[in-house]
């Protein structure tokens, strides 16, 4: 199970944090600081996985943003890399060629999309179409009095 996902910039600014295990704010800040530092210090050609405490870190850089996930020992590193990629695709499709600014200014949307895709640290829906459909439906509901959805 994924323990948490962090998005941060090359400058080390945290853009999104999703925790799937209960941790205190202090602990979260500590982990974030430590990991941002570790990952930013790594060179481009290095492998995308590293051991950290008793977890495995899987990270990948997209333009100015690092996507960094912590998974458990028995979890699959490569499929986690593709979780990251699928999430990037979802953001890209939703925002239309996503950039860091989109995630800064519409951070709440980034969280909503993530919740549709991953829940409780596990993949909930891997179909790009289905995830986007759910988000779209939600967007259509905005400011409209809710009525039961037609199937």
């Amino acid at each position: 199970m994924m323990q948490f996902m962090l998005l941060f910039s090359r400058q080390g600014k945290l853009r999104l944090q999703k925790w799937y295990v209960p941790l205190s704010d202090k602990e979260k800040k500590k982990i974030t600081r430590e990991l941002v530092q570790t990952v930013l210090a790594r060179k481009p050609k290095m492998c995308s996985f590293l051991e950290w405490r008793d977890l495995k870190i899987v990270y990948k850089r997209y333009a100015s943003l690092y996507f960094c996930c912590a998974i458990e020992d028995q979890d699959n590193e490569l499929i986690t890399l593709e979780i990251i990629h699928r999430y990037v695709e979802l953001l890209d499709k939703y925002f239309g060629s996503v950039c860091e600014l989109d995630i800064i200014f519409n951070f709440e949307k980034a969280y909503f999309i993530l919740d549709e895709f991953l829940l409780g640290g596990e993949a909930q829906e891997t179909s790009k179409k289905n995830v986007l459909k759910a988000i779209e439906q939600a967007d259509l509901l905005q400011e409209v009095r809710p009525a039961p959805l037609k199937p």
Binding site: C47, E77, I79, I104, E122, Q124, N130, L141, P146
Partner: protein, 927 residues
């Protein structure tokens, strides 16, 4: 479809975010945030009711501020209000806020749960999903209590929408992980298993995570999932790359689901049903075959997804460990990856091969890749990959290739990254011992280790080489010769001096025939290192010297001269001084026969499992401390006092190691694994242990006062111990002065950085007690111990205790610890002898209320005379016999020595054995 174009963009929020981004400094950002917080607070507090949109906007701003890393202490109520809004986006923001900023405020939790309950029963799938996401994100116990029975119903109900089922499954998983006791198995469980057959791939994908977790805990109940998973997997594996439409990812059909299915199967042994098993083996073969096919796309996503399934399949094959054919195929496949241009694949292949190496079926196949792996160790640019290569070499090592692998690892050590050196050293030491055919090779290897990476050679390693040399007489002469040669180097590591001192002290005679290594040459060589060594090593060398006197009588005069010089018998270190004095005395008064008996060669150590292995295991998981280790730690505290017996028997050398307090100092095997409780039985250690019955020395997380109280009647022992740190105390008091030695032992294998300690005297105490300490070294290596001396002066009487604050970084995490230092007024007692008449005369004089105190208390333990006496003596007063007419009573007298005055003090303890209640009348004459 950018969200902003949809008209729900909150302009105020966007402006605020821009402002923050434009801030030039952290200070400006904080200023802007404080301004915004004040604004929001006033809006929330204002008389005018806010409309939903504004509420949403402000809550969203608060959320943004929180996510920037600032604390938010209000707005929760407004967010909860949003939950019951009938506008979707408002509700959504409310839920997001709650998910991110959970508050255990019970009042709020009730309101939140209420809102969730409403949404769950709304039958609106979008709302239901929002509520389920919130439960899954928060996952608190309160939520589990409220919804753990409701969610399974939603999950298996026939009319639940697919998207809701998906959320419900993972929501339940989260609740099961946090509060398994609240999620009860029931009728729904069998229906959950059948979700594996669901039409909707998304439902299967979500449900299988839940099923996997439940299967791990209740394998029997979920057994049927195996055949369902196999048939599902088989359908996916055999489908064409386009069959699964949107669940195909870069030409790979349902990679996530495939991985999860393979993972689920790893919870069970191979299927018993032949047909199911056949089908599964077929799937695994297909997956292995596909790896050989040319890629359908050049994109890395394609190969990652495909290989993710492949690695998961290999994990399953390794888990079954019963199909030689598949194991060997897996190994060959991984062998190809070892030379792949993708670093990620090389890394994973090395990692996966490590487990293959331990299977009897594939061990040989793994070994064929030795050259590639050695090459990886030498040439990989990424340290984490090199680490994997070293792990694999260790895993594939056996008698046939041990020499090659050990040699390669040794040569790699010379340039290895500091971060992995210690582990490498342990591994080399283990392999050298495990596969040693001739022990001279073993000795060479370990000495090489010390030469190349002496700093990383832990005690366990050099203890072990000594154990082995002592136990095997065929290697003793060689070992003596080799250490002698190694010590010739102008700069040699202190660990080498330790090993050299020990081995020459035991077996120097075996090479003494050669004039180039005559006794005196050996001694001079050792002594030339003496002054550069730390105290424990010097102590060990002193023991070696006394052994020399026994081995070579011709060195006696020279060595006695060395022992006699001021730097030895007046050494400021008590340990060294005591040894010098005792050894000097021993060598001059004991007859040669006595000397020969006392300093006899060490007896062989009992054979036992290498403790280095244990250390390596511990290094791999810095988790709980083993019980034996705690026992050792406790026994250690006894040793601190028991130093009087040192040098009296053949264990002289061994004792020198024991008195180097280290949590793992039992490696020489001098201490049997006797239970801790055995200690109080010996009369000699009575004093130390009088308080140990109070309760076993608390292990981790000891209450600070707990350690404190145990020291009221004793001066030495372990003050504090947790999983990281052990603090031992040795203290001595004379008149109004005291000296306390604090020993900080790093119990982990990781360095403590920024280690600092401060002693403070809070409040009034600063005028009553003067405590001076020298700063300690900021780095404490793993397994090492550092010492700090405190000088204490009692100015006047006091009742508080000084505080010791310790800070250090362990693996990046700041540790902070405050302990009460066991400095109590009774430490400054000077015992006073007096006759019965004097005693009672003084007793009567002290009649004013402030001059006496009386307390009646129930004895916690049976009142054993010796124990009580020991405790009273430990208190520091003189125990007076024949003073009280009633021989059952105990009478003590002492004078508290402070700088400003001396205070006489008398005490009577009247035990009432019948009632098991002593009635002490303690006259505490005072000031």
């Amino acid at each position: 479809m950018p969200a902003v174009s949809k008209g729900d963009g909150m302009r105020g929020l966007a402006v605020f975010i821009s402002d923050i981004r434009n801030c030039k400094s952290k200070e400006a950002e904080i200023k802007r945030i404080n301004k915004e917080l004040a604004n929001i607070r006033s809006k929330f507090k204002g008389d005018k009711a806010l409309d939903g949109y504004s509420k949403k906007k402000y809550v969203c701003k608060l959320l943004f501020i929180f996510l920037l890393g600032h604390d938010i202490d209000f707005g929760h109520m407004e967010a909860v209000n949003l939950l019951s809004s009938n506008k979707y986006t408002e509700k959504q923001i409310g839920y997001l806020f709650i998910s991110v900023l959970v508050n255990s405020n019970s009042e709020l939790i009730r309101l939140i749960n209420n809102a969730i309950k409403n949404d769950l029963s709304s039958r609106n799938p979008t709302f239901m999903c929002l509520a389920l996401h919130c439960i899954a994100n928060v996952g608190s116990r309160e939520m589990a209590e409220a919804f753990a029975s409701e969610i399974p119903r939603i999950l298996v109900a026939g009319d639940t929408m697919d998207s809701v089922k998906q959320s419900a499954a993972l929501c339940l998983l989260r609740l099961y992980k946090t509060s398994p006791d609240l999620v009860l198995m029931g009728e729904w469980t069998s229906r959950v298993v059948h979700l594996l057959n669901d039409q909707h791939m998304g439902v299967v994908t979500a449900a299988i995570s839940l099923i996997t977790c439940l299967s791990q805990k209740n394998p029997d109940e979920f057994k049927t999932c195996v055949s369902l998973a196999v048939s599902r997997l088989s359908r996916i594996v055999s489908s064409a790359s386009t069959d699964l439409q949107d669940y195909t990812y870069y030409f790979v059909p349902a990679p996530w689901l495939s991985c999860k299915l393979l993972r689920l199967l790893q919870c069970y042994p191979p299927p018993e049903d032949g047909a199911v098993k056949g089908r599964l083996v077929e799937c695994l073969e297909t997956i292995l075959n596909k790896a050989q096919e040319p890629p359908k796309s050049k994109k890395v996503q394609h190969s990652n997804a495909k290989n993710a399934i492949l690695f998961e399949a290999i994990s399953l094959i390794i888990h079954y460990d019963s199909e030689p054919n598949l194991l060997v195929r897996a190994c060959n496949q991984l062998g190809q990856f070892l030379q792949h241009r993708e670093t990620n694949l090389r890394y994973l292949a090395l990692e996966s091969m490590c487990t293959l190496a331990s299977s009897e079926f594939s061990h040989e196949a793994v070994k064929t890749h030795i050259e590639t792996v050695i090459n990886a160790l030498k040439t990989e640019r990424d340290v984490s990959v090199r680490q994997r290569a070293a792990d694999l070499l260790y895993a594939m090592c056996d008698r046939s290739n041990a020499k090659q692998i050990v040699a390669e690892m040794l040569s790699y050590l010379e340039t290895a990254d500091y971060s992995i050196r210690e582990e490498m050293v342990l591994k080399v030491a283990i392999l050298a011992e495990k596969y040693a055919v001739d022990y001279s090779w073993y000795v060479d290897t370990i000495l090489n280790l010390i030469r190349i990476a002496g700093d990383y050679v832990s005690e366990e390693v050099w203890y072990r080489v000594i154990q082995i040399v002592i136990n095997r007489d065929d290697v003793q002469g060689y070992a003596a010769k080799t250490v002698f040669e190694a010590l010739q180097a102008p700069a040699c590591h202190e660990n080498m001096v330790k090993v050299g001192g020990y081995i020459l002290g035991e077996f120097g005679n075996l090479i003494a025939g050669d004039p180039r290594s005559s006794p005196l040459v050996q001694f001079n060589l050792l002594h030339s290192k003496f002054h550069l060594c730390s105290v424990p090593t010097r102590a060990l060398l002193l023991s070696a010297y006394i052994k020399f006197i026994n081995l070579f009588p011709e060195t006696k005069a020279t060595i006695q001269e060395v022992l006699r010089c001021d730097s030895q018998i007046r050494n400021s270190d008590v340990e060294l001084q005591q040894r010098a004095v005792e050894y000097l005395k021993l060598s001059s008064i004991a007859s040669t026969d006595v000397l020969a008996t006392v300093l006899e060669e060490m007896p062989p150590f009992p054979e036992r499992e290498s403790s280095i292995l244990a250390k390596l295991k511990k290094k791999k998981g810095p988790g709980a401390v083993s019980v034996t280790e705690l026992e050792d730690g406790k026994r250690e505290s006894g040793e601190l006092n028991g130093s009087g017996e040192r040098g009296q028997d053949a264990a002289a050398m061994a004792a020198s190691n024991a008195s180097t307090p280290s949590p793992s100092a039992d490696l020489l095997g001098i201490r049997s694994a006797a239970p801790v409780n055995a200690a109080p039985a010996s009369a000699g250690s009575l004093l130390v242990d009088v308080f140990s019955e109070v309760g076993p020395a608390a292990p981790s997380g000891a209450v600070n006062d707990d350690g404190f109280l145990r020291f009221v009647c004793k001066n030495n022992g372990v003050l504090f111990e947790n999983q990281l740190l052990q603090i031992g105390i040795k203290s001595e008091y004379r008149q109004n002065l005291g000296r306390m030695y604090l020993f900080y032992g790093n119990k982990t294998s990781v360095q403590f950085a920024s280690f600092s300690t401060t002693v403070s005297c809070p409040g009034e105490l600063q005028n009553q007690l003067n405590v001076q300490s020298k700063p300690v070294e900021p780095l404490v290596e793993g397994g090492a111990q550092i010492q700090q001396v405190l000088n204490i002066e009692c100015l006047t009487d006091f009742s508080d205790a000084p505080l010791l604050n310790i800070k250090f970084r362990y693996g990046g995490a700041l540790q902070n610890l405050t302990l009460k230092l066991p400095v109590t007024i009774n430490k400054f007692f000077q015992p006073t002898e007096m006759a019965s008449q004097d005693f009672f005369q003084r007793w009567k004089q002290l009649s004013q209320p402030q001059q006496e105190a009386q307390k009646i208390f129930k004895a916690n333990h049976s009142m054993d005379t010796e124990v009580i006496k020991a405790k009273l003596l430990g208190l520091g007063m003189a125990l007076l016999d024949n003073v009280d007419p009633n021989p059952e009573n105990y009478v003590c007298a002492g004078v508290v020595q402070t700088k400003s005055q001396q205070v006489g003090c008398l005490l009577r303890l009247e035990p009432n054995a019948q009632a098991q209640v002593p009635v002490p009348a303690a006259g505490l004459p005072s000031l």
